[in-house]
Symmetry: C2
Subunit: 195 residues, 2 copies
Amino acid sequence: MTGSPSPPHPRLRRTAGDRRAQLVQIGLELLPTTPVQELTIDEVARRAGISRSLLFHYFANKREYYTAVTRAAADLLWEHLMPAPGTPPEEQVTGMLDRYVGWVETFRESHLAFVRGAAGGDPWVSEVYEETRGRLVEVALAALGLPDDARHRQLVLAWFAFTEDLVGSWADEPTMTRPELLALLRDVLDRLVAR
Amino acid sequence: MTGSPSPPHPRLRRTAGDRRAQLVQIGLELLPTTPVQELTIDEVARRAGISRSLLFHYFANKREYYTAVTRAAADLLWEHLMPAPGTPPEEQVTGMLDRYVGWVETFRESHLAFVRGAAGGDPWVSEVYEETRGRLVEVALAALGLPDDARHRQLVLAWFAFTEDLVGSWADEPTMTRPELLALLRDVLDRLVAR
DNA sequence: CGGCTTGCTGAGCAACGCTCAACAAGCTAC
DNA sequence: GTAGCTTGTTGAGCGTTGCTCAGCAAGCCG
């Protein structure tokens, strides 16, 4: 008590890019335990060891912040799913599907949290994932050699919803083998678009 | 300014049941324009013509309130979908599917808002709809003459996700006729469980 | 009219999103 | 080395919103 106030932190100063990345990273780490929109600025700032005010220096408001966090999560998924350049089209969908199941197996909780946050209430958050889903549909339709029209988009998007739900519950309680799951999903897709 | 304060409301006093029902009703009316969790107590109280405090007399906290609103919405859907007693099993699923599409056609925006709120972040809200979905699966499996085991539940629940997504986007942009949509959904379900 | 139940309110606290004026770390110029 | 600029950073503080609590008053009974 009688000692000098002693600055607990040597007042580290980061570059703008570093700090921004750090804040988004903290958001990503908090995602599994907290719905995005319920992240509190206080908590994030505390973890980063900065004042609340600084967060508003990098993000105009709370929404812009958690939208950035959501976008970061979507980008991670996107990069993991994208086929390596040069992959033959007929293998692309199979590969993406396989990697998607792997992703859910590895990051089950955080992925579930991400999807829930993206599906739920806030339009600004939903839009981020919608956009990623849209790009995934484009890739899938191209790989399948199908036209990118409204009808095929609807069908493949609905199949995404089917896949997300089934893979999620399967990861929680495996009622079939992994290859069976993959075959089932692929089969449903093929029959759907073969009309 | 110089007039008497004049009590704007004659201080109407309602029974507990009436007031509760009124508050839930207001929540239902606000659902299409506002994600459930973002309903503000202020707004609801203002619309009901009561003080904020009174709302906390009926609902312990905000969550309990919007959970009640969500449950009311889920009950409305449930009552609309349930087959009339005495309906032969083979017609039950077809009828429920038909009524579901009708429901989405009629209440597109509010139903979308409801599903989004139920899917999104808050576990307490999700649980309400999860429970209704669970009961719907039971009815469907019974009508189809299938065992109510984990695997069938997973498949039918995933098919629900497929159906919700497809019917939602179809209502926005009809890419096929209504009978075609119903036939497609029914066909996907039949093939899924016929394994 | 006195007394009881209970629907109802207003003042007020704490948490949180957000603003703003000012401080200070680290670089460049002289 | 120091003057001066840029910009990362902070603290005080405001408005809104969820929530509490002591107490008022509407309607009923004796």
